[in-house]
């Protein structure tokens, strides 16, 4: 049975309800509600400051953004051979044999230039940073079990994909130092539209 409003409420607000509303909209209500000691003021105007400060341990547990220079990459390493095995188990059904594409995008193979009629926008031809590859695999792949790969497995898959694109040797394990230092072929192919220079025509 659907809840209905009690008939008493239809007669108009009770004095108690009015008192409660006054309490809630008064400037002091944040303190009354008992939350925190971090309340601040900006001149005469109260400013809410209801966030909880994190202690160093909590900060250390925060996810680390991986930056294009390799900052934030975890320790560990993986090999091309391990990556090939993982790919055949977890990735090939969507990305196709050798990363040539399927229901998911092409990762390797095509070499048609970006300036041509049918450009290949795969990792080797198009992606500007190799760190992006590790980060994306770690956070989102495989899509049926995101976040399930260990750092070592992510390095291995990254190594294999880079090797398929001719950007990493077959016999060298990949780690944070190697990945952060890798210069991708299309690294300088992007023009930032920020800072803004007004509308692009067209």
């Amino acid at each position: 049975m659907a809840p209905v409003v009690p008939a008493s409420c239809l007669r108009g607000p009770s004095p108690w309800l009015v008192a409660l509303l006054v309490l809630l909209v008064s400037p002091g209500h944040l303190r009354l509600a008992g939350a925190v000691s971090t309340e601040a003021t900006k001149g005469e105007t109260p400013v809410p400051a209801l966030g909880e400060r994190l202690d160093p341990e909590a900060i250390a547990r925060l996810p680390q953004t991986i930056f294009p220079d390799g900052r934030g990459l975890p320790s560990g390493s993986g090999t091309v051979q391990q990556g090939a095995l993982l790919y055949s188990r977890l990735c090939v059904q969507c990305h196709g044999p050798d990363g040539r594409g399927g229901s998911a995008p092409e990762l390797a193979g095509g070499r048609s230039p970006l300036a041509g009629d049918y450009p290949d926008q795969n990792i080797g031809n198009w992606w500007p940073y190799a760190t992006t590859l590790f980060d994306f695999i770690r956070r989102a792949m495989p899509m049926f079990a995101p976040g399930s790969l260990s750092d070592a497995e992510c390095y291995a898959l990254t190594a294999w994909l880079l090797e398929r694109n001719g950007l990493w040797p077959q016999d060298m394990p990949l780690d944070a130092a190697g990945l952060g230092a890798l210069h991708m072929p299309n690294r300088d192919g992007f023009d930032s539209q920020w800072p803004d220079r007004g509308p692009a025509h067209p």
Partner: protein
């Protein structure tokens, strides 16, 4: 427009012709009506007004659903019809467990629960959100045949309410306004995007309400980033982490995707603004006109740069243009409705609309857009859209 969409009319014609029931003699005046409802739903006879879904068969949560622009009038999109773009499904988030953490360069790491954020001063703004990939079928060599919403419906407009991001940045002690803010969502894709700190301080907010009610799950419940006027992917849904940094993260969706390859092989990156665009939403493909019909050519226009200043309509493939009437209020970064009355004379016509925004920028012709941006840009397609009316009164999508 004189007629119902012919597909719908066709279905109706298969049934028995209904008796004309008017005023107080209608059957529904002779029996008590339905009781109250806790949450109202559209009329049963409007059940065809839905989002159409295009998703990856291997990953059903990776795809889009389109706002049926051809069925909507006004400037606000019902929450249940707001377009969706998810990369790996809609997470089912327990709001009691969800938090937002702000940390990084200059910031004293701070965390808010949803309940705490709901107590901050909330700002409300009517804002469009448009996917950077909206209208990308315009890059195809042949014009795809579908109603306007199924080609251009990755744009919607809502009243969003939430906590100004500047309040949270100041609370965390972020003083320098130059740099980047990396926003991360709590979904199975962990979508993360970098945006300039200047914008974050300027007008971004943590969206908690949509059209007066809490966000729908598919729109980011319990919170999403609102980045007024900028491309949809930056409005990170299910927002859980904000990191201040000196450089962008160069995430997958700001490098390999949501960048625009140009002729010559270079690409645009961080094309944040959604430039001016307009669409005729009625009539649209699926409508049929009869000679002599009065036709209310109407639609929507918007710009990520500010207000819409002008919308022009052409019925002769752009050889001549007339100003359309703009419906007030004309708000910045919001859908603006336009209309131009017309009588169809039975001869072939090509209907177009063209928006000009407050900066003076004029929505480009398709030919001009392709000349500048080639065939592989994929994102930020905002060219003039053309609809032909043939001699039989049927409407089709054309390139001119």
């Amino acid at each position: 427009m004189g007629r119902r969409r012919f597909l719908q009319a066709g279905v109706g014609a298969l049934g028995l012709a209904p008796l004309v029931a008017t005023g107080t003699h209608a059957a529904w005046t002779r029996t008590p009506g339905a009781p109250f409802s806790n949450y109202g739903q559209p009329a049963a006879s409007e059940s065809g007004v839905i989002r159409w879904i295009s998703a990856n068969a291997d990953v059903p949560g990776n795809g889009v659903s389109w706002t049926p622009l051809q069925d909507l009038v006004g400037t606000l999109t019902p929450a249940g019809l707001h377009f969706e773009r998810h990369h790996n499904g809609v997470p089912r988030i327990d709001p009691a467990l969800h938090t937002l953490t702000l940390h990084g360069r200059d910031a004293r790491a701070t965390r808010w629960t949803v309940a705490k954020l709901l107590r901050y001063p909330l700002v409300s703004r009517q804002l469009f959100i448009e996917c950077g990939g909206n209208s990308n079928s315009g890059w195809l060599q042949e014009p795809p045949q579908a109603a306007v919403g199924w080609l251009h419906g990755l744009v919607s407009c809502s009243e969003w309410s939430g906590v100004p991001l500047s309040l949270l940045l100041e609370e965390a002690g972020v003083a320098r306004r130059h740099g980047w803010l990396i926003a991360e969502g709590s979904d199975a894709f962990g979508l993360h995007m970098s945006l300039p700190l200047e914008k974050a301080f300027d007008d971004c907010f943590i969206g908690l309400y949509q059209n007066g009610e809490r966000l729908r799950p598919e729109n980011g419940y319990p919170m999403r980033l609102i980045v007024p006027g900028w491309e949809g992917v930056l409005h990170v849904k299910w927002l859980t982490r904000l990191e201040v940094a000196d450089v962008p993260a160069m995430s997958r969706n700001e490098t390999a995707r949501y960048t625009e390859l140009l002729p010559g092989g270079r690409a645009r990156q961080f094309s944040f603004f959604m430039e001016a665009k307009s669409l005729i939403t009625r009539p649209t493909l699926g409508d049929a006109l009869a000679p002599g019909d009065y036709v209310d050519i109407a639609g929507i226009a918007w710009s990520g740069r500010g207000r819409i200043r002008r919308v022009e309509v052409s019925v002769d493939a752009g050889r001549s243009w007339q100003d359309a009437e703009l419906q007030s209020p004309v708000l910045p970064l919001c859908f603006t409705r336009f209309r131009r009355p017309w009588r169809w004379d039975g001869r072939r016509a090509v209907l177009q609309s063209r928006a000009t925004d407050a900066t003076g920028y004029v929505q480009p012709a398709r030919e001009a857009l392709l000349a500048a941006r080639g065939r592989w840009g994929y994102f930020h397609y905002n060219a003039v859209v053309s609809w032909a009316v043939d001699e039989d009164g049927f409407i089709s999508h054309v390139y001119v």
